[in-house]
């Protein structure tokens, strides 16, 4: 009962902390960052601007192309200005009567402008694609039938491979950082002394703070997964993985909060211990690295199941082994949390 009362207190006091805002904002900001920056900066699509002065059928065909960003502009002057500024890799002006001139064999001049800063590979792609579509105006039956054969595994795109990174930040801030910060701030403000003057024990205080972190980790985890359309098709398996994540992060938070003497030291510890928590997310990003190294990180044992459930549609039967290992790590951390909690209680008793 006392744990519940302490937990209620955490719920009442916790939302007043500006850090809670971080816990909600960080997954949103990181998702936006990953989708906009990593989606377009490291996997750029060729960008083509089109000005259609005479209702060419090519415009519609260009707009239907996948993996080429096509934008229709109003005037040729605007197109030239934007191509020169490298807002587009190339710009195509389809003058009035262009289609008819091609069909009648008049060979009209092609007004294709290339940005001086565009990549040579993008220039080739856009030039050939435009020429191929123009050929299609007169030739329904090309001389060559091209058979495209895909080889190897498709793998995952960069944005998908960044999902573990988004997840780790979501659960670390909610699950570990907030209970740790709460513990440290209570010590700085000496409110923990007041709590411990009641019949509540240090174990119960830690349990309540851990429970608050656990709930936050689950909530921010669910929020991040939905934000990235990665909830998967097995909700119970996902909740089990998030539960392991929540418990492990809450335990890490309590360990850090018990060891740190003030906010500054907590940040320093987080910067150092953060590497241990975060490093397994590096390996999905670089598939050529030896993946077994990620097994050495405790967070691997919930990140891997979350990824498999979210992306590969795995169920509990597929991920029970790493999840069990994660649960064992959580159990192994319990005595460490208790020992550090008792040492903290002893230190507080000495100082008061």
């Amino acid at each position: 009962m006392r744990i519940l009362a302490l937990f209620r207190r955490e719920i009442q006091v916790g939302p007043r902390s500006p850090m809670l805002l971080w816990a909600v904002l960080v997954p949103v900001l990181l998702t936006v960052l990953v989708r906009s920056v990593f989606g377009s900066l490291f996997q750029p699509q060729p960008r083509l601007a089109v000005v259609d002065e005479g209702s060419s059928v090519l415009t519609e065909q260009l707009l239907q192309l996948d993996d080429i960003e096509v934008t229709v502009l109003a005037s040729a002057d605007e197109l030239r200005e934007k191509v020169e500024a490298n807002d587009f890799d190339a710009g195509l002006v389809l003058q009035s009567g262009f289609d008819a001139a091609v069909e009648s064999g008049d060979q009209p001049e092609l007004h294709l402008y290339i940005s001086g800063e565009s990549l040579a590979s993008n220039r080739i792609i856009l030039e050939i694609t435009a020429l191929d579509l123009i050929r299609g105006l007169t030739d329904d039956n090309p001389l060559v039938n091209v058979k495209v054969v895909s080889l190897g595994d498709e793998g995952y795109d960069l944005v998908t491979r960044l999902l573990p990174m988004l997840m780790i930040y979501a659960v670390v801030i909610g699950g570990a950082f907030i209970p740790a910060m709460s513990l440290v701030q209570e010590r700085e403000a000496q409110t923990i002394d007041a709590v411990l003057a009641t019949p509540a024990t240090m174990d119960e205080v830690l349990m309540a703070k851990g429970l608050f972190g656990f709930v936050l980790a689950i909530l921010t985890g669910v929020f991040t997964l939905f934000l990235n359309s990665a909830w998967g098709v097995h909700p119970w398996a996902m909740l089990a993985a998030l539960a392991v994540a929540g418990v492990m992060m809450a335990e890490f938070g309590l360990i850090l909060g018990s060891v740190a003497s003030d906010s500054t030291m907590l940040f320093t510890l987080l910067k150092s211990a953060g590497l241990l928590i975060v490093f397994p997310v590096i390996f999905p990003l670089f598939p050529s690295l030896p993946q077994w190294i990620a097994w050495l990180g405790p967070t691997y044992y919930f990140l891997d199941p979350v990824f498999k459930i979210a992306i590969e549609g795995a169920g509990l039967a597929d991920v029970w082994l790493p999840l069990s290992a994660g649960a064992l790590i959580c159990v192994a951390l319990v005595p460490i949390v208790r020992i550090l909690g008792r040492r903290l209680a002893a230190r507080l008793a000495v100082t008061t």
């Binding site: 500006p18 850090m19 805002l21 920056v37 377009s40 900066l41 996997q43 060729p46 192309l65 996948d66 993996d67 030239r80 191509v83 020169e84 500024a85 490298n86 807002d87 091609v102 060979q107 009209p108 001049e109 092609l110 294709l112 402008y113 290339i114 001086g116 800063e117 565009s118 990549l119 040579a120 590979s121 993008n122 220039r123 080739i124 792609i125 050939i128 694609t129 020429l131 191929d132 007169t138 090309p142 001389l143 060559v144 039938n145 091209v146 058979k147 495209v148 054969v149 895909s150 080889l151 190897g152 595994d153 498709e154 793998g155 906010s263 500054t264 030291m265 940040f267 320093t268 910067k271």
Partner: protein, 356 residues
């Protein structure tokens, strides 16, 4: 006055050096940024590696061998070509059948196999297919359906094909802003600590006046930020042909974050509040630096953000060798922001100190 300001600066340096957190992460940040910068590729890969096999291979190589952006390799067997694509050595492999040339010559349709890795995007699949079809038209003697203009007419702006500015060079302003951010938090934390512990009132009972206190904070903050960011820029070889332009941009940036630190330090009560205020102030600083990494011009709303001028001046001076004339509008915009932010910071801090 100079003696008093110098005495306050010495006191602040001693106080800041005791704050191991900021000292630790400033040094760590500096090292990580330099390592990250040098770990990034220094060239831009703008070439499509294409493999060809079969009777059309030599013809394709002859037609497109010198084409910029295309690297052609001829393979002796289909198996070798397929293996190279599977191993990721090629973007695509074009396998011409043995009867390709005679079939095309008779006007019949030939089938050409194009091997691509499974994750190849549609734009590349479409372009390679188009390339093969175009080759067939060439073999058949079919003319182009259009008239191509001369190349110098179609390339707009300086032609950087084969000489692109690598991403790492565009990353420099962002690294500078990350470092300035740490310095801003460090100074803001020092100010907040002085206000919280009321050491500022102790300083002001000496002959030191509020203006001395503010001058000391400004000089120290700007100097520390400037030295650190200049060291970072030297370590990542940003000083190209326009070192004075770059130094001016860095000095203005340091002054700008000092103004922000005065603002955050006088408003935030504890570490967490300063952290959040600093982040709220620094995010608009980071947006122009992030936008500089993307191709093309920035959106109009990005151009009015405080760090836009500084970012452009750094990119243009370090990557494109821009001189004073080109960088002047950006430096002047940054100067205007510096004056505004600094005035606000001084006003807030002065008011706070006077209420103590």
């Amino acid at each position: 006055m100079i003696r008093i300001v110098w005495a306050i600066i010495r006191k602040d340096i001693a106080q800041m050096s005791r704050d191991r957190f900021f000292a630790y992460i400033t040094i760590l940040g500096l090292v990580v940024y330099v390592v990250l910068f040098w770990a990034l590729p220094s060239t831009v890969d703008e070439t499509l590696d294409l493999g060809v096999h079969g009777v059309g291979a030599n013809l394709l190589a002859e037609q497109l061998g010198g084409e910029e952006g295309l690297d052609l390799a001829v393979f002796d067997t289909s198996d070798a070509l397929e293996r190279a694509v599977t191993d990721g050595e090629l973007v695509a492999g074009v396998d011409f059948p043995d009867d390709f040339l005679p079939t095309i010559a008779t006007g019949a349709q030939a089938t050409v196999t194009v091997y691509v890795p499974a994750d190849t995007t549609d734009d590349i699949r479409t372009a390679i297919s188009g390339l093969v079809r175009e080759l067939a038209y060439l073999v058949a003697g079919t003319t182009l359906p259009i008239t191509a203009p001369a190349e110098d007419e179609v390339v707009l702006g300086p032609d950087r094909a084969g000489d692109q500015v690598p991403l790492k060079d565009k990353l420099r302003p962002l690294l500078a802003i990350f470092l300035l951010m740490m310095e801003m938090m460090s100074l803001a934390s020092l100010i907040a600590q002085e206000i919280r512990s009321k050491t500022v009132t102790a300083v002001l009972v000496t002959p030191a006046r509020t203006t001395d206190f503010l001058a000391a904070k400004t000089i120290l903050g700007t100097a520390l930020a400037f030295v650190e960011v200049a060291v970072l820029m030297a370590a990542i070889r940003a000083f190209g042909s326009s070192p004075t332009v770059l130094l001016t941009a860095l000095l203005l940036g340091s002054f700008l974050v000092t103004g922000m630190a005065l603002l955050a330090g006088s408003t935030g009560r504890d570490f967490i509040e300063i952290l959040l205020l600093s982040v709220a102030l620094i995010v608009p600083m980071m947006i122009p630096a992030g936008a500089a990494m993307f191709p093309g011009s920035a959106a109009p709303w990005i151009k009015v953000l405080p760090a836009y001028g500084m970012t452009q001046a750094i990119v243009r001076a370090s990557a494109y060798g821009a001189g004073w004339a080109e960088a002047a509008p950006y430096l002047l915009t940054t100067l205007a922001w510096c004056v505004g932010v600094f005035a606000l910071g001084v006003f807030m801090l002065k008011r706070k100190v006077e209420t103590l």
